[in-house]
Amino acid sequence: MSLFDKFGALAAQVAEAERAATNPFSVVLDHVLSPTEAIIRGRRALLLGTNNYLGLTYDPDVIAKSAKAVREFGTGTTGSRIANGSYDGHQRLERELAAFYGRRHAMVFSTGYQANLGIISTLAGKNDHLLLDADCHASIYDGARLGQAQVTRFRHNSPEDLSQRLRRLADVPGDKIIIVEGIYSMLGDSAPLKEFAAVSREAGAYLIVDEAHSLGVLGQTGRGLAEAAGVEADVDFILGTFSKSLGGVGGYCVSDLAGFDILRVACRPYMFTASPPPGNVAGTLEALHQLRARPILRQQLNDRGRQLYAGLAALGFDLGPEPSPVVSVILPEPQAAIEFWKRLLDAGLYTNVSLPPATPKSLSLLRSSVSAAHSPAQIDHALALFAEVGQEMGLVSAGPKAVRRAAAGRTA
């Protein structure tokens, strides 16, 4: 008997991936050349799976601000804000985030995962009720587990199911807190937020929206789905991350609710961890500035997302329900997803594999995400490789010629 026996099923899955010669869960990017290219296993690869939505990781101003902060404030904060003090950058970033959202309060966390873990576990007390969308991210479920509230899961994107579950709780004491996401990371679909907001309002519940994948992607000014759906007033807390559109690491929560700041001395994943380092904070601040000042990035991003989605749909791939910067091909089984991933990488295209139980409805996914930094030609090149490999594997009938014809039609 070994301490690791309980991971037997997981180990078998890893062994399966290893047999495919390349394990998608331990790939190394030897050198990153730009937001869209890297050297992987000695070869140049087009990156189509980075969540680098606005492509800001190599922006000269973001790099300059980050490097300047490292020189002036050092590489790390070496402690938590509660025990070892806040830096000016932490407070500036919180002020800027609050101003961006037009809300009174903002709180910054060291990772997006910790923002979800901290806010959800702290807000929902022992007698409260959390209602989570079935497809919410693992960090939301982990936050719910860390807290002491009763947790109810409702059907993905179903305001009717949420409403029914709220009715079952109608006479049970305690606050009700609903959590949905702006864009779901596995299939790239959005929540019907207007309808969720109405259900929440009617039940007198609190509504939290995790905009991790929708910040800088959706909404007139890039604030996310709550802005796009016109229901910001109904959303009590917005959670998000710096690690996608803003090209850094960290998470945040913004809110208008009075008394919010008490969380700083009650929220353990905020209190008992090192605060975000100065270079990361300064880079994130500049990236936020760019997100606000350059709406063209959002347009490019969404254009590329639609281009990839339409191209893959035309080839005959089974996709998620709507175009977004996350575009996932649904495959019949995990082995097919791993094989597809490997063949694409061999051909110079880097994507992601997502397998159950991390995926909804036990789907096996080859997941791509586009960036504003991708050129239309790069997306066409990716589509040609999808067509080639898809045809080789017998997944689709249309070949690379169809892609070339579609690309020619677009530029004509």
């Binding site: 079935a134 479920y141 587990r145 947790v151 899961r153 059907r155 079952r168 139980p357 409805k361 036990s362």
Partner: protein, 83 residues
């Protein structure tokens, strides 16, 4: 429905028989992960089907404790009795 233990068991077994691709003999001792091959998310999805039929919500921490079909019958019976 008065939700007796046997009725709850019939709803669970009936739903499983309709959804499982490979026929498996179902008893109270059937282990949901090992015998039915359902992962953590698939178990939660399956419980949702049962919840709809019995008009009840089972808190996730209670589902996490369930290992066998007998456990699930008992959990649902307890939740329904206290509703």
């Amino acid at each position: 429905m008065d939700n007796s233990v046997s009725e709850i068991r019939e709803v669970i077994f009936g739903t499983l028989r309709a959804t499982l691709r490979n026929p498996v003999e179902l008893t109270d001792q059937t282990n949901i992960a090992n015998d039915l091959g359902l992962d953590s998310v698939a178990v939660m999805d399956f419980v949702m089907e049962i919840e709809d039929q019995l008009n009840v919500s089972v808190p996730l921490d209670r589902i996490a404790e369930v290992q066998t079909l007998g456990d699930l019958v008992e959990t649902l019976h307890n939740v329904l009795s206290n509703a």
